[in-house]
């Protein structure tokens, strides 16, 4: 099996509200999979189904090729978006308790906790109560507790919220390291820059339905639409722009007088760049010609807007 998780036509309804409508996903092993979507799209419901907190009305979820069953809980680590710890319980005791609930023995849990506490340099927090720690500190504990039982599948829902940039970076490094060790990771977030940075695969859920999924690089390729950033050295920008506007769509021209440098974005009608390049190089010196690859953010917004437009039609 190459997929750690497979969802087949998963539907879930709460009263009159449809939370998931026939969602199917394949999450490849040893990858970081971004689960994207606006608020209320159904991401959390899907994650809760994977964690067996709720159950689908119809459809099936396969974990490592087997239908999802209670024993899988021990091989999944989940960091929910709504997270917290017992305020009046000591850090060490609490971490031990949560690790034991995941099926670790007390001695094993202690050993691993010591390792992680040393790794993240928080060894002296063991006897402190959560209410004595700052939010970011508590989040570190929460992260350790999530990964401690060395799950095959890790699910992070907005993992970086509550971290300052330095700690967010530490956590990001840890996530990448876990992936290197073979863990599969589902990553649910609104923060597109972290999607860009971390995810190999994404799925976009909108209004209870999956509207897009696949490898991020493939999606990006598919979403390229022949837009290029162009830089030219010219004396008379007005003239050349006028000529270009007759044949191509030109956006955001910007001319720097001192350097005689013209920047603009061009939309080409096809993938063929030869005509355009021949034309501009005959008129001027081309200093820059780069294809713009759509960002995950662009794709996110475009897909959802398209979908909404289609729904309205």
């Amino acid at each position: 099996m190459n997929n750690i998780l497979e969802a087949k036509g998963v539907s879930k309804q709460f009263g009159d509200h449809v939370a998931l409508k026939k969602v199917s996903l394949h999450i490849p092993k040893n990858s970081i999979y971004g689960l994207l979507g606006p608020n209320g799209a159904g991401k959390t419901t899907l994650i809760r189904i994977i964690n067996q907190i709720t159950y689908p009305d119809s459809g099936e979820v396969l974990f490592d090729g087997e239908p999802l069953q209670p024993s899988h809980v021990a091989t999944i680590g989940y960091l929910p978006e709504e997270r917290g710890l017992y305020k009046s319980m000591k850090v060490g005791e609490q971490a031990l308790y949560l690790a034991q609930l995941k099926g670790l023995s007390k001695s094993e849990a202690k050993k691993r906790l010591k390792f992680w506490f040393d790794k993240l340099e928080i060894g002296d927090w063991w006897g402190k109560k959560i209410q004595e720690l700052s939010k970011g500190m508590a989040q570190k504990i929460q992260f350790i507790v999530t990964v401690l039982h060395e799950p095959k599948l890790l699910i992070f829902d907005e993992p970086f919220s509550g971290f300052d940039p330095i700690n967010a970076n530490i956590i990001k490094e840890e996530i990448l390291e876990l992936k290197e060790k073979g863990t599969s990771i589902i990553f649910s977030t609104h923060r597109m820059e972290s999607v860009e940075e971390l995810c190999e695969y994404i799925a976009l859920i909108h209004q209870s339905e999956k509207i897009l999924d696949g490898k991020l690089s493939d999606i990006k390729k598919a979403y390229k639409n022949n837009i290029f950033n162009v830089g030219l050295e010219v004396d008379n920008p007005e003239l050349i722009l006028q000529d270009l506007r007759e044949k191509f769509t030109i956006k955001t021209p910007d001319f720097c007088n001192t350097e005689k440098h013209l920047d603009f974005v061009v939309q080409l009608p096809t993938k063929e760049t030869g005509d355009f390049l021949n034309y501009v190089s005959s008129k001027s010196n081309v200093t820059q010609f780069v294809e713009t690859i759509p960002s995950a953010n662009d794709i996110f917004i475009r897909t959802i807007e398209e979908k909404n437009r289609r729904n309205n039609e």
């Binding site: 009263g15 907190i53 809980v73 709504e82 997270r83 710890l85 017992y86 009046s88 949560l98 609930l101």
Partner: protein, 446 residues
């Protein structure tokens, strides 16, 4: 199973390590005993509030009728005018003045007698004086009907019916009350336990919701396991607390009563000597002893084994039913202030059980109301226990009623815990809005 044990352990430790819980555990017996001492002390103070009433008797009747008692002493004034007597009573600050004017006829004397006081007189005092007049008048009237004083005293003899059960064992009049009190005590214990520790369960659920740890935990264990672990762990903490309360309160009480008793004895003796009623008092202990033996016999005859077995059965089932409702309430809300609307309907049957129990079971342990409430599962843990000291079968609770009651309770237990678990499962993941009953009903279908 292993996870359930872990949860129980955590809930237990979290509870017993809680500072306010510890303080309550050790403060409550002190407060209780302190309260008891205060009440006893105040009652004693009240007893010692002696009144002196001056009797200005100008007639030749009533010369031996006004005898001082523990609380009231009568002082006779002689050869004074009414006005002089009034003045001196006022200046001596005595409680009141009873003026009995002189007439030939006793009826006339009685009808012209007056009682003067500064404030309006105490009802008890008036009663005593009126009954003295009444009994003297009755004797006088009967004498007129040619009855002798001896006949009169025969007439006045009190009567007490001799009671026994069909096997011929003598029983005491108070036995039923005593039994009802013992049963009521058990029932009351269950009610208190449910209200106190059910509330703890509810707050603990709310705490898990507000600290947002709930989702972390239920990704490892089933919500039902968490709910049950919480209920059981809290009940162990409760039992620990109860045991500490009972032991420390009884030790404190023994010490306090011992100290207190010396006090009472010394006070009691002086007042008895003052009132000169030692003879009357000394005859009491003998009668007390006989009664006491009967009471002890009745007490021993209570079917303790079955009572305790059924106490445990009703306690466990009743507590589980109610605390799972409390857990569901805790899950449905975000903070404690929102719980009021849901708590009242839960406490209502408990209160009803205790009050109906105390009124109807004391009156008639086998009447229709008592039977009805002891079958209905939300009240049976309390009401049935009030009935059980009379035994099972002959003379006590019919076996079919007990079986039916336990059966209903088990059915209700399964049904309510199932419903509560459903509400709990949905509720713990709901944030932000205060749910209505309609919404709770909808959650059952999620």
């Amino acid at each position: 199973m292993n996870k359930l044990l872990l949860i129980i352990k955590r809930e237990y430790l979290a509870k017993v390590r809680n500072k306010s819980f510890v303080v309550m555990t050790f403060l409550t017996p002190i407060l209780m005993v302190g309260m008891f001492l205060l009440v006893a002390y105040l009652a004693n103070m009240n007893d010692n509030d002696k009144r002196t009433i001056v009797v200005l008797n100008e007639s030749h009747y009533f010369s031996t009728d006004f005898l001082s008692t523990e609380n009231t002493s009568y002082v006779n004034f002689k050869d004074l005018s009414l006005q002089q007597a009034k003045d001196s009573v006022m200046s001596l600050e005595y409680y009141g003045l009873l003026h009995i004017p002189n007439h030939e006829d006793l009826e006339k004397v009685a009808s012209t007698a007056s009682f003067y006081t500064t404030d309006s007189p105490n009802a008890g005092v008036l009663n005593t004086i009126e009954s003295i007049f009444e009994s003297r008048l009755r004797a006088h009237r009967l004498l007129n009907m040619e009855l002798s004083a001896e006949d009169f005293s025969i007439l006045e003899q009190p009567f007490e019916v001799h009671t026994a059960n069909f096997i011929g064992e003598e029983n005491v009049k108070g036995a039923n009350i005593m039994k009802a009190f013992i049963g009521g005590g058990f029932g009351y214990l269950i009610m208190m336990f449910i209200i106190i520790y059910g509330g703890f369960v509810m707050r603990s659920v709310i705490e898990e919701k507000t600290s947002r740890i709930i989702e972390v935990i239920i990704s490892s264990v089933k919500p039902f396991q968490l709910m049950m672990g919480k209920i059981i762990g809290t009940s162990f903490a409760g039992i620990t607390q109860f045991i500490i309360w009972v032991i420390s309160a009884s030790i404190l009480l023994t010490v306090a009563v011992f100290v207190f008793n010396i006090d009472v004895a010394s006070l009691g003796v002086t007042s008895k000597v003052a009132s000169g009623s030692i003879k009357e008092m000394s005859s009491l202990p003998v009668a007390m002893d006989e009664n006491m033996i009967l009471y002890i016999k009745e007490f021993v005859n209570i079917p303790w084994a079955s009572l305790i077995v059924f106490f445990i059965v009703y306690f466990i089932l009743g507590y589980l039913i109610y605390s799972s409702i409390y857990a569901a309430i805790g899950a449905a809300v975000d903070n404690e202030t929102d719980t009021q609307q849901f708590i009242f309907p839960v406490i209502l049957p408990l209160m009803l059980a205790v009050y109906v129990g105390f009124f109807s079971v004391f009156e008639n342990p086998h009447g229709p109301v008592a039977v009805g409430f002891s079958l209905f599962p939300l009240t049976s843990p309390i009401v049935m226990l009030m009935r059980l000291p009379n035994g099972i079968g002959e003379g006590g609770v019919p076996l079919w009623q007990l079986v039916t009651s336990v059966f209903f309770l088990i059915v209700a237990f399964i049904g309510i815990v199932w419903l509560a678990a459903k509400i709990y499962r949905v509720g713990i993941l709901m944030y932000g809005k205060k749910p209505t009953y309609k919404e709770l009903f909808k959650w059952l279908r999620y």
